[in-house]
Symmetry: C2
């Protein structure tokens, strides 16, 4: 499954490694956060669940192999390579930081140690799967922080880069601290709280706004959230006031939220609906939310879509997946690239977290009084233990109290000097 | 299939429409490009293939229905609604502009006319599927334009918002004018040219760079593209020169491309490799490419990843899906929302393209000497005719010669004044 869901060059290299007799060599690749995304001081790692699902099921179907055989790049591939691909399974080891871990620039996210071809092919998928959920979880953490305790609900599937990315983004946003999502499939698949009541089309589908409000209240009872800005927000709020309870509250989706929320609050209070909540949505991000919160507007919850679902100010992350060592028979060779601004650090590594700083060390090193963040996930091609749920991961996210410095161990420095 | 891949409120509204006896009413929803993405003067529409696939297969599995029944929002949903969902199929009509069409702000992309619930549920999926491929095809068109005839290859799956989004983005980038993609699955699924030879790990996996080059040449022959910046680009180019033919060319992935490409060109020419091409990749977008082309650098092809795969400067598009009319028995009611900055235009429409301008008119109008851009795609729940291939769509994209103005027909203006 998913064998072709990678860059062609991973497969060209696979054929080349096979032709050069390197399929018995063992490579260790390191997935590293080369640099933080712009506007970010840390990331919340997410997406490991997809990496695991992919590696445990990675294989090639006969029709996919036929397709590759027909491409000019494989004209000289040895016949044995096709048999190799047909039998392909990932048999290696994966160490990774748990989802929900806070990481900083220059830190490793994952090590993949496997026969060279098995470790090479997953590069493209792993980079995409983990980087995407990580940027969304990170964006969510920033937004939730600025909301200062008010609930933030993820509303962004319609702006996500495909509906399926919306499902994954909903999970990541929840891990980053959102209270829930509008995405029904994310709720079903990942056990995330789902929220959502009605759109403008609901209001327009009835002859009058009041009729639409009454019908929604009949259906939803205490969970009713009335969308009041279809025609005129103040008039909408008054209509909600006339209907009374049961009601959770109202939603504003346009206009000047600071001013409107105060007006709507007065209308609801005057109608005896002091418990009714006010939610706002529409073009929100952490900057806008901070401004609104600053004004003291009586807003209880935020629905955030576009900016969260695309991490619009930082829609990608400079992550890399590089060969750091290669083993043949009894010998190990450490590898690094020296390209300008894109050099890499050789050797399989461990990342130790001390109270005040992080230490990048060789995998063979131990540390006293520090947590080893790269933990075994897949051993010999099998999942070591069940992965935590989205809820468990979310509970593990702790906002960093301050920036951390990254130090290198002496043994690592000495290796770098030699390669 | 995919019944839950939508916002929960679409399903809450579905239950509410059912409870209110509105499942026999027919709604027409319009998918509109409310405003152009930032930095864009037009969009290249893409993604319709996914919309069609979704609508033709939309259904709910028993376990999904069970999940919904357990949610508090559906506590009061009528029992008949669950039977309705279990039997759900899309039976409506879809008119849409063909993929590859150039559109401008305020123009409709698609009309969905169906029993109200059937037209409501797809909102979230359609917005995401079409908006995503459209922003990528548009970004590609901009990049290809600035490359002024040099080939542009899409390299971005690793930065896409999920590996699956990478496959869709590759298709969209091809429609927008890219020569091909690095994504193997996109090649397999959509018949797009695929490209890719080797990464830095290939170079590092061999004891010496020269050995890596020789092994790649053995495998790829005339298709060999040597990546020369792992250690030192000039030394890499000289090693390629010593090897000689067969060779397609070299790739630079870091450094000052204008300077390096000139140096590498001289080295290759001196080695008698005047036919060898130079490709560059790494942090490219249309602005950077325009700058490089401006310097007259001897570059034959560009590989573009991150900025293209995420449309980084405009990662979303303000598209909307709004109820424009509703039919019950023999009567039609036209609908619009009046929210500040977010008002909509009532009535099912047609978009006519004249040589000099576009005309937004009612669906019942005809026009002389203009192309009706919204064409029937799905009628009565069935696909009218096979969709064109990515290649056919790509051939249809014509760069606009100048901005177009959008006029409204008199009949439309008169309707707007009444609603």
């Amino acid at each position: 499954m998913n064998g072709l869901l990678t860059d062609l060059y991973e497969l060209t290299m696979a054929a080349g490694y096979f032709a050069a007799g390197k399929e018995q060599e063992t490579g260790t690749f390191e997935f590293t956060l080369r640099r933080l995304p712009r506007n970010r001081e840390f990331v919340v790692v997410a997406g490991l669940h997809r990496a695991v699902e992919y590696l445990l099921n990675l294989s090639f179907e006969a029709s996919e192999i036929e397709y590759l055989r027909g491409l000019p790049n494989f004209r000289n591939a040895p016949e044995g390579f096709w048999k190799y691909l047909a039998d392909f399974r990932f048999t290696g080891d994966v160490f990774a930081v748990p989802e929900g871990t806070i990481l900083y620039g220059g830190e490793p996210v994952m090590n993949v140690r496997a026969p060279l071809i098995e470790a090479q092919i997953p590069e493209t998928y792993l980079l995409s799967a983990i980087s995407f959920e990580t940027i969304i979880a990170t964006k969510a953490a920033r937004i939730v922080h600025e909301a200062q305790g008010r609930e933030v609900v993820e509303f962004g599937t319609r702006r996500a880069h495909s509906p399926e990315a919306g499902v994954l983004g909903a999970r990541a946003a929840y891990i980053g601290g959102c209270a829930g999502t509008s995405n029904a499939l994310a709720g079903y698949k990942y056990g995330i709280p789902v929220m959502g009541t009605a759109a403008h089309s609901w209001i327009m589908a009835f002859e009058t706004e009041s009729q639409a409000f009454a019908e929604l209240q009949k259906l939803l009872g205490d969970n009713t959230v009335q969308l009041i800005d279809t025609y005129d927000s103040a008039a909408g709020a008054r209509a909600v006031g006339r209907l009374g309870k049961p009601l959770w509250g109202v939603r504003l989706d346009s206009g000047d939220f600071s001013r409107l929320s105060r007006q709507v609050r007065r209308i609801l209070d005057d109608a005896g609906l002091q418990d009714a909540k006010i939610m706002v949505s529409g073009d929100l991000d952490e900057v806008r939310i901070a401004e609104i919160v600053e004004t003291g507007a009586p807003i209880d919850a935020f629905g955030v879509g576009t900016e969260l679902a695309t991490s619009a100010d930082a829609p990608s992350m400079g992550s890399i997946y590089k060969l750091v060592e290669i083993e043949r028979a009894e010998s190990v060779r450490y590898t690094a690239k020296h390209s300008p601004d894109k050099s890499t650090i050789p050797g399989a590594k461990q990342l130790f977290r001390y109270p005040d700083y992080d230490l990048l060390a060789l995998q063979s090193e131990c540390a006293d009084g520090a947590e080893a963040l790269l933990k075994p996930v897949i051993i010999g091609g099998n999942l070591l233990e069940p992965l935590p749920s989205a809820r468990q991961i979310r509970d593990r996210v702790h906002w960093p109290t301050k920036p951390r410095r990254l130090e290198h161990s002496k043994a690592l420095e000495s290796l770098v000097a030699r390669v």
